[in-house]
Symmetry: C2
Subunit: 136 residues, 2 copies
DNA sequence: TCGCGAAAGCTATGCCGAATAGCAATCGGC
DNA sequence: GCCGATTGCTATTCGGCATAGCTTTCGCGA
């Protein structure tokens, strides 16, 4: 079957991201996290006391869409919210949050390793800079 | 703000795909198509008489999810379905479908050109093979 | 200092892609 | 000729993402 799509980088980009995303989502589900959860936990760990909207800006997640994510993480006992002033609140990991993040981190690093290994050696080093040039 | 995410190719892959996808979707909307519509039209043009399930297999779209896409394209007068036998039907572009696809093709090619141009020259040639290695 | 625009957090809602489960009709190889 | 595989479909759900609008609070400039 003829397939004119395969010559479009944009199409391959979408397909590759979907494939990788599905794979990672499945692996992360065994520690009870979604991808957005994991990325958010990482940023909170690296920046204790950060606010929800600062996180949203960095991750390009709208404030409105942060709400259910944070609620889920708080309900799961992984993060705490402490008022900074009347309108902002600082986020931090709980002990359970740190433990869960450690597990998630191992899953993710393993995943990333395998992802890289699938790429022929001569192309490997170019992937990250090329991708970053697209969205940054 | 510290950001441990930026060193993960998987994360950049997701972000780059999202950014590109949003951009293309917006451009395609001016010709009244979604990305899935456009990719499907291209495959139908290259393979007249192809069946819905064969298309789905190639595009990794489940049979169930093909239904609304095909219905939309048929309602818009872009494709026709002709029974092959009692259970299969062959798809083909209408005249309007060919015209619309031509417009879409120009949009897509322009988009792909700009996408490539954003990547530093020394990385360009490596992107497509690297991406293909991930999902194929 | 006080007034007002900006920012923070939130609700409600909808769209799109994708997945699952299940069904009826048909095809095709043994 | 029979039975498993295939096709097309309905119905439903979920996750990611977007928009519109609300209330409260902050903080800067007149």
């Amino acid at each position: 079957m003829k397939d004119p799509l395969t010559s479009f980088p944009g199409y391959s980009l979408r397909r590759a991201a979907n494939a990788a995303s599905a794979e990672l989502a499945q692996r992360l589900s065994v520690v009870g996290l979604r991808q957005s959860d994991a990325s958010l936990l990482m940023l909170v760990e690296a920046n204790p006391g950060v606010t929800a909207s600062a996180l949203g800006r960095r991750l390009d997640i709208q404030r409105a869409n942060m709400v259910p994510i944070l609620k889920r993480l708080e309900d799961a006992g992984l993060i705490t919210r402490a008022p900074i002033d009347g309108k902002s609140q600082g986020l931090a990991l709980t002990e359970a949050g740190r433990r869960t993040l450690t597990e998630a981190f191992q899953v993710i690093e393993q995943f990333e390793r395998e992802l890289i290994e699938r790429i022929p050696a001569e192309h490997r080093a170019h992937l990250l800079p090329a991708l970053d040039a697209i969205w940054r």
